[in-house]
């Protein structure tokens, strides 16, 4: 114990700028969510008795059903896909290996609109199959299907990364023992991948619970719908905030479960190993079945809706070259890139502070700061506005005391407030990815650096950042792709005359002009494809080789 204690105290000492910075950042990011939680103590104007009597049970039931269904669906598609593409070999594997993440480029509500467009009166599927032959997609089943198709890539990415890090000798040993692919999967890989599955499931559950547009379109009554109905319909922002807080507590429970699952799996990178890759070559019918199983989610979650959107967009294709449209694209990229940088920076700050002082009493702050992911975007946006306008008013009061001109609204209506909102909302994506990569860096590195009297900043720059580069890039790409799809916070917080692709798609959709959403939606998907391709290349690389090269 003593041998461990000495380097740890050496590491924890000094470098308090890091911890101060981390505390300020996590407090700021926690504030919008905390502002919601404070509403628990405010009177809600009699909303609760009414909700209890009428719709609360429905919100609970639909939320639980939807979240469970989507997590299950995403786990089967994402986990199964990761297993097949990493450990087995079959025709088309090299293509499907990266194609499986493509549905991530689609905003869920766009897939929902596209499918209803195909299945509703006048859609080509409706014309081919007739109204009676089709199950109604506007249902719980439809919602589960659509959200699973869009969200499974999170699980796929995480499970695949975990599988790739396993030593090939592990599977070789199983083979020597005469285990078939299924048995290796069930008895060896499932337990190994459990933390990744849990982490992915938490992300999928949070995305599902915070979704509004898709469930609204399908008539599913989740908590998000209830939150906004309470706010918009019953005119009770306080009641809505209280409902959101309930949702956040539920999420906190999920996160705690995920933590517990991960705690048991604290393995660090033990050094060089042989990469794991395609050890079960499948043949004949089994091989083609594997191809079909991986091709199906890519087709339904990407190719088919993309083709339908392209068909709708074709007559209006010329608009892409107009100045107006170029501005939409530039604005969208500006938001995505800025938010990716900001979120990654905060994620590194928090994750690194946590690593330097694992037993910090205020460590829960960093964890709590990632809860914004589970609240509906528009509710987070209100929290962010509340924090910013309070700061602005305080600054105004300070200026009045000092006898100088009030700075006015120096945050509201600027891009800063948007980046603030995105960081609040998507920090968990960046944080998880950075923290997981940091965990894999052996602590001996820190100890060695401490022995060489390197400061925390030097250690971070010279050792950790280069080693977690892949995780950092993953964090930025995931945030980028999510931000360019994000709608509700963007809509209400943006500056005057500042339109993005998602805003344009929304305006077309709320005008109920389905074909009008096609062009901006396709452009969002296209903008997400480049980072996703980068991501796919990164994850295809065998980590062992990367280590060896260095």
């Amino acid at each position: 114990m003593a041998a461990v204690a000495t380097p740890r105290s050496a590491i924890g000492a000094g470098f308090s700028a890091l911890h101060t910075g981390a505390r300020i950042a996590s407090t700021l990011i926690l504030l919008p969510v905390a502002a919601l939680a404070v509403c628990v103590f405010l009177p809600s104007g009699g909303v609760w008795p009414h909700l209890l009597e009428t719709t609360l049970g429905l919100y609970l039931k639909d939320s639980a059903l939807l979240a469970a269904g989507v997590v299950l669906g995403a786990a089967v598609i994402g986990g199964g896909g990761a297993w097949l593409c990493t450990v087995c070999d079959f025709p088309g594997r090299r293509f499907l290996e990266w194609a499986l993440i493509l549905p991530l480029a689609f905003p869920a509500y766009i897939i929902a609109y596209t499918y209803t467009g195909m299945l509703d009166y006048g859609g080509w599927l409706h014309q081919r199959l007739g109204a009676q032959a089709l199950p109604s997609i506007r249902s719980m089943g439809g919602g589960i299907a659509v959200l699973s198709l869009v969200l499974y890539p999170y699980l796929y990415l995480l499970v695949r990364a975990t599988l790739l890090q396993q030593s090939a000798s592990l599977v070789e040993a199983a083979r020597t023992l005469g285990f078939g692919a299924w048995r290796t999967f069930a008895q060896l890989m499932l337990p190994v991948a459990r933390p990744a599955i849990a982490a992915g499931a938490a992300i999928v559950a949070m995305e599902t619970l915070s979704d509004y547009a898709t469930v609204k379109h399908f008539g599913i009554q989740t908590f998000s719908v209830g939150v906004l109905r309470t706010w918009f319909g019953l005119d009770s922002l306080v009641g809505a905030a209280q409902l959101s807080t309930l949702l956040l507590f539920f999420t906190a429970g999920l996160v705690a479960c995920e933590r517990l699952a991960r705690r048991r799996a604290g393995y660090y990178n033990a050094g060089q190993r042989e990469a794991l890759g395609a050890v079960y070559p499948l043949r004949g019918a089994r091989a083609w079945a594997a191809t079909a199983a991986c091709a199906l989610p890519v087709t339904l979650g990407f190719a088919l809706p993309a083709a339908q959107l392209a068909a709708w967009a074709w007559p209006a294709r010329g608009a892409v070259f107009s100045g107006d449209y170029r501005e939409l694209i530039a604005n969208t990229l500006l938001l995505g890139a800025g938010a990716a940088l900001a979120t990654a920076a905060v994620a590194v700050l928090l994750a690194y502070a946590r690593r330097r002082r694992p037993r910090d009493r205020l460590g829960w702050l960093h964890r709590a700061a990632t809860f914004g992911y589970a609240a509906p975007g528009v509710v987070v946006a209100v929290g962010v506005m509340l924090v910013c306008t309070t700061l602005e008013k305080a600054a105004g009061a300070g200026a009045a005391l000092a006898g100088i001109a009030s700075p006015g609204l120096f945050l509201s209506g600027t891009l800063f407030i948007l980046y603030f909102a995105y960081t609040t909302r998507f920090l968990t994506l960046g944080f998880n990815s950075v923290e997981t990569s940091l965990l894999k860096v052996s602590r001996n590195m820190d100890y060695a650096a401490a022995t060489l009297r390197a400061s925390g900043g030097e250690t971070l720059r010279a050792i950790h950042l280069p080693m977690i580069r892949t995780g950092l890039l993953t964090a930025m790409l995931l945030v980028f792709v999510d931000v360019i799809k994000e709608l509700p916070a963007t809509l209400v917080l943006r500056p005057f005359d500042f339109n993005t692709l998602a805003v344009r798609a929304y305006e077309m959709a709320s005008n109920e002009q389905l074909p009008g959403i096609a062009l901006p939606s396709l452009t969002i998907v296209a903008a997400g494809l480049l980072p996703l391709t980068l991501l796919a290349r990164r994850i295809a690389r065998r980590p062992a080789r990367t280590l060896m090269r260095r």
């Binding site: 506007r138 319909g233 077309m508």
Partner: protein, 343 residues
């Protein structure tokens, strides 16, 4: 090793650039928070901008989110004008002290008192009628002549209507509560729910498509959706719309339920004069004609004819309650739909 490190300073500089690129404020201008989508308001704003030589800046979004922004920004808010697509939200904005009274002879002359706030905090700028739409050959001969009849058991499993989350339905319920009282309206809503062909999903256009596709015989929707479908570039939409007949309900009593799109000058307005001028422009003949022709809404200004499609559906008697009532009764209406199990 050093050369392989990512360029963190570059990243920092890039982020700083991202923040700075925000567009800054200009000179003479009117700033608008609008719940009306850009394509449905921008052409008019551009015309006004050209005429008066004033820059018009726009943020669109969901009405309640924009209200929250306006409220939190307080007296520093840059917004001069709030535009919504229903009377309820304007009432809410007024109650929250976010709007100010405007005394304008033009507005008073052009807009009937029932379509504006009694204290002139907000003004209706276009009218939308919520009609009963019947599938030709299936329901039009016996179509319900009143909203009240939608709850009759003959229509069991034959009606499509969107969620009661939607403000148009909430306003319809509010108007019925005003006309028939809360108890009778609750009983009616329960009967209506029992008659649903499917749980509510999608928007007004989706209900019309569902009716045309044979899922139900009656849809309840605002008429401009049907008009848009009739003028659509998509053949299937036109074909679907042609199967539908418009039935004007309650012609022997209070009339068709009407809502407005409207606007009010904010209390925080820094460009009040230009904002009032914009309001007057929107209530004037030029803009009213555009509403009628491009948007298929009914103009508030007397003497402007509705578009050709709307004229084909004939004239109708409109409910003449003061629309402020819709705002007053909105919360009660939502609670009533919750009790009735209308999702």
């Amino acid at each position: 090793m050093t050369s392989r490190q990512p360029h963190y300073h570059t990243a920092l500089a890039a982020f700083a650039l991202c923040c700075v690129l925000a567009p800054g404020p200009g000179g003479a201008e009117v700033n608008i928070y609008s719940a009306r989508q850009e394509p449905l308001i921008k052409p008019l704003l551009d015309r006004f901008s050209k005429r008066r030589g004033v820059k018009v800046r726009l943020v669109t979004g969901k009405a309640d989110a924009l209200l929250a922004r306006l409220k939190l920004e307080g007296r520093d808010s840059p917004a001069d004008l709030l535009i919504t697509t229903d009377a309820g939200r304007l009432y809410r904005a007024k109650e929250a002290g976010l709007l100010q009274a405007v005394e304008s002879e033009t507005l008073n002359a052009n807009i009937a008192p029932r379509y504006r706030d009694p204290q002139n905090h907000w003004f209706g700028l276009s009218l939308r009628a919520r009609a009963i739409l019947a599938v030709a050959g299936k329901a039009d001969t016996a179509a319900p002549a009143r909203y009240e009849s939608l709850a009759d058991p003959v229509w069991r499993g034959r009606i499509c209507i969107r969620s009661s989350d939607n403000i148009y339905n909430q306003s319809l319920v509010a108007s019925m509560m005003h006309a028939n009282g809360a108890d009778a309206t609750l009983a009616w809503a329960k009967g209506l729910v029992a008659n649903f062909a499917r749980p509510p999903a999608g928007g007004d256009r989706d209900q019309i498509l569902a009716a045309a596709g044979g899922l139900c015989d009656i849809a309840v929707a605002n008429t401009y959706y049907l008009a848009m479908m009739l003028q659509s570039g998509n053949a299937a939409q036109r074909e679907a719309a042609k199967k539908i007949r418009v039935v004007w309900p309650n012609q022997r009593d209070r009339g068709v339920h009407i809502n407005i799109s409207g606007a009010g000058v904010t209390r925080a307005a820094k460009h009040r004069e230009d904002a009032v001028a914009l309001l007057e422009y929107l209530a004037g003949a030029d803009a009213q004609r555009w509403y009628a022709e491009a948007n298929n809404e009914y103009p508030v200004l007397d003497g402007i004819a509705p578009g050709a499609v709307l004229q084909a559906w004939g004239e109708f008697k409109a409910d003449d309650i003061n629309l402020e009532l819709l705002g007053r009764l909105n919360r009660d209406a939502v609670e009533l739909t919750n009790r009735a199990g209308w999702r």
